[in-house]
């Protein structure tokens, strides 16, 4: 069993690079292709003309993480053919380093869109529909190319990269929390907390219990707010305006409470390296509790009406189906994967007591909407529990910038969209050599492309909203 040759590590643990086993390529390949566990990351770290390829395997159910590496040259046999889930990683590696995965079935660019020719069909009955990069709403840019037969979508290609701001490079040169908050604004808490935890681990800073709990509360509040807004947006796309309006204003209650905690509706300014900038006192505790009860009543009433409405169900059920098998095969994460019945949730990796993921199973738009309703309920219960645990004093330690040399730290968190993973690698002097970000959208955009196949093109908006993926989180 090749798994035994890997290094088992914990989430947010500092690993010395020399501890990571270097495998022969054939063994490395078996590690990825023979296991049914999820490939959580696959990346290159260049070291004096040597390309070290690292693979991170996650066993979600047993909350176990494995890492191993191999050395590759300018090309290597593509792993995608045997394990489709790594197709995005291989495309990214090819684009960033020019290391070619030989035999990759679809080696198209990830974040570059100039000169790319979209897939064409010789069938005279088919036609193309091009959408974007500027869309018909207040939304980020991305290009969608549909290959249709009549109203039916045969294939969808999603081409991104329009938002590319060079975040990874900027974070490497100047790691600061404000930049981390702006990786993806709707996941402010998710990305900024992962960033802070990574640097804290590398510099050996201790974060007090109270600050850790406040971070977790903020993360769950972020999840609630976006999920509420998203069910509303799904309702808006099928012209069920009642829920669109009601849930739109219910979301306001959650984010306004976030403003009362941190001064920003999105939680910007809350996180700092070493803890949090704002405490939750007894008065705020009561406010949060009252808000949660109010929001719970409103969401439950509205969702009860929405999910028992025949016209709503006829639009959502069996639309945009992603089967469990397919979701696993392409490595989907987050609520979209859980709605397809896959057990994947980073909250299983140790930070939470007795956490059991919820699942809506069916894999259609209904399931992804209902999944959000279930998660809102779950988050509410979790916040109430965590508010009880909130004790001790809030400490704000001095920020340390001397990082462990020749090390690597992988931090995972379950953002509202799914698994967020930041990898920080330091060199011999302890300077940051590489900063790598993986937003859940990295995997899930392909899930959306599969979901709309054989659906009406007019169902694309509601499929898209049910995933609600990040453009800037993907483009970085």
């Amino acid at each position: 069993m090749v798994m035994t040759k890997t290094l088992i590590f914990k989430n947010n643990e500092v690993i010395n690079k020399s501890e990571i086993p270097v495998l022969e390529f054939t063994e490395f390949e078996r590690l990825i292709t023979d296991t049914h566990f999820r490939v959580a990351n696959l990346f290159i770290n260049q070291e004096e003309y040597k390309n070290n390829m690292y693979a991170v395997i996650a066993d979600d159910i047993n909350a176990q993480l494995y890492i191993a590496s191999t050395i590759v040259g300018n090309e290597y046999p593509s792993l995608t053919l045997k394990r489709p889930a790594v197709h995005m990683f291989e495309r990214e590696i090819y684009e960033n380093y020019g290391i070619r995965p030989v035999g990759h079935p679809f080696l198209k660019p990830v974040r570059v869109n100039e000169g790319y020719e979209f897939l064409k069909s010789d069938d005279l009955q088919s036609h193309e529909v091009a959408v974007g990069p500027v869309h018909a709403g207040i939304i980020e840019p991305g290009h969608f190319r549909f290959l249709c037969q009549g109203e039916r979508v045969m294939h969808l290609e999603i081409q991104l990269g329009w938002q590319h701001r060079g975040v990874e490079k900027m974070l490497k040169n100047n790691p600061n929390i404000w930049l981390a908050e702006s990786i993806s604004g709707d996941t402010t808490i998710g990305h900024s907390s992962v960033f802070a935890r990574g640097l804290e681990a590398l510099s050996g800073m201790k974060v007090c219990k109270r600050a850790q709990t406040i971070r977790k509360i903020a993360l769950e509040m972020e999840r609630m707010a976006i999920h509420i807004g998203d069910i509303g947006a799904i309702a808006g796309d099928i012209a069920y305006l009642m829920a669109a309006n009601v849930l739109g204003v219910t979301r306001t209650l959650v984010i306004n409470t976030m403003l009362e905690i941190s001064g920003s509706r999105f939680g910007k300014g809350l996180m700092r390296i070493g803890g949090v900038n704002f405490d939750i006192d007894d008065e705020l505790k009561t406010k949060i509790t009252n808000m949660l009860e109010e929001v719970d009543t409103r969401v439950t009433e509205m969702c009860d009406a929405m999910f028992s409405n025949a016209t709503v169900l006829s639009r959502l059920e069996n639309t945009g189906l992603v089967s469990t098998k397919k979701a696993e095969e392409i490595g989907m994460v987050g609520p979209a994967a859980r709605a397809s019945g896959v057990v994947v949730d980073c909250r299983l990796f140790g930070d939470y007591k007795n956490f059991v993921p919820v699942s809506a199973h069916n894999g259609d738009v209904w399931a992804r909407a209902y999944q959000r309703f279930l998660e809102i309920k779950q988050s509410k219960a979790m916040i109430l529990d965590m508010l009880e645990e909130l004790n001790g004093k809030l400490e704000t330690p001095e920020i340390k910038t001397d990082y462990a040399p020749n090390s690597m730290c992988l931090t995972f968190t379950e953002g509202w969209r799914g698994e967020i993973c930041h990898v920080i690698i330091t060199d011999k002097t302890g300077a940051i050599e590489q900063y790598k970000i993986k937003d859940p959208s990295f995997h899930n955009w392909f899930g959306l492309a599969l979901a709309v196949r054989n659906n009406q093109i007019s169902d694309f908006p509601v499929c898209n909203k049910s995933f609600d993926l990040s453009y800037c989180g993907f483009d970085l």
């Binding site: 869109n113 990069p133 500027v134 018909a136 709403g137 207040i138 939304i139 980020e140 840019p141 990269g161 329009w162 938002q163 590319h164 701001r165 060079g166 490079k169 900027m170 100047n174 600061n176 404000w178 930049l179 908050e181 702006s182 990786i183 993806s184 604004g185 709707d186 402010t188 009642m242 309006n245 009601v246 739109g248 204003v249 306001t252 306004n256 403003l259 009362e260 905690i261 941190s262 001064g263 920003s264 509706r265 999105f266 910007k268 300014g269 900038n277 704002f278 009543t297 409103r298 009433e301 509205m302 009860d304 009406a305 028992s308 990040s470 453009y471 800037c472």
Partner: protein
């Protein structure tokens, strides 16, 4: 049907009636004030500022400020953030302030042409999507910007101007230019958020291209990171000369 009616009853009226007079809850960071005499560690504050918004003559450039509050924590009370959220300006230099901001002088021709109805096309050019979410929130049942005849439309052909968010990435530069040029004249440019106004936290990135702003002057600046819906709506209303 009964369930729907019960929801209506539970919701009551959610609209903010007095958009012009509404205050934002405590802890909100609005226009910063520097107590010039009390501020002894200007250099330290300048160094800590992630976007270089603090000037040497002890003023803050709201076009760069991301309202993170870091300078306030460092300055021992010499820099404080008020709750004043009305900090939009029609001129770039008006954004460099200490506590007070010049009110926008509504131009006669703008009031005449757009005063009753303004249709805008939004372009996100590298934004982190928080400004976009706040622009969306402007149209929800709380803020309801539509009541003033201001709307976000799907096509630039139907628009009187563009609202830009984000630092304008190289990859979006052409799409932004095309969208703007597709808008019929007379047209206006509104820049929302620190990124659009100055590049914000991304100002040092080598993946951005801000030449758009050299060719097309901005008519209205709405700072923030992200700008609060009340800031956005009040800024546009001031610009249109609404009471």
């Amino acid at each position: 049907m009964l369930k729907t009616l019960r929801t209506v009853h539970l919701q009551k009226n959610q609209i903010i009636k007095d958009i012009r007079g509404r205050e934002i809850k405590p802890k909100f960071r609005g226009i910063p004030v520097i107590d010039e005499k009390k501020l002894t560690n200007l250099k330290e504050c300048q160094k800590a500022c992630p976007t270089g918004a603090i000037t040497d003559d002890k003023k803050i450039d709201l076009g760069k400020c991301i309202f993170c509050g870091e300078c306030a924590r460092l300055s021992n009370g010499a820099i404080t953030f008020t709750r004043n959220h009305k900090y939009s300006a029609a001129k770039r230099e008006d954004l460099i302030v200490n506590g007070e901001i010049n009110p926008i002088a509504a131009k006669e021709e703008i009031v005449k042409v757009f005063g009753q109805s303004l249709k805008l096309r939004q372009v996100s050019a590298g934004g982190c999507n928080s400004c976009e979410m706040e622009l969306n929130a402007c149209s929800n049942a709380n803020f309801d910007i539509g009541r003033y005849g201001i709307d976000f439309v799907a096509s630039p052909r139907h628009a009187d101007g563009v609202v830009i968010t984000g630092p304008v990435t190289k990859n979006m530069a052409k799409a932004l230019e095309d969208t703007f040029l597709s808008t019929p004249e007379p047209r206006i440019v509104i820049a929302v958020g620190a990124c659009a106004i100055s590049g914000g936290v991304f100002q040092d990135s080598d993946e951005i291209d801000r030449t758009f702003f050299e060719r097309h002057p901005v008519d209205l600046y709405i700072p923030g990171c992200p700008a609060h819906p009340l800031t956005i709506i009040n800024g546009i209303l001031d610009y249109l000369g609404c009471k």
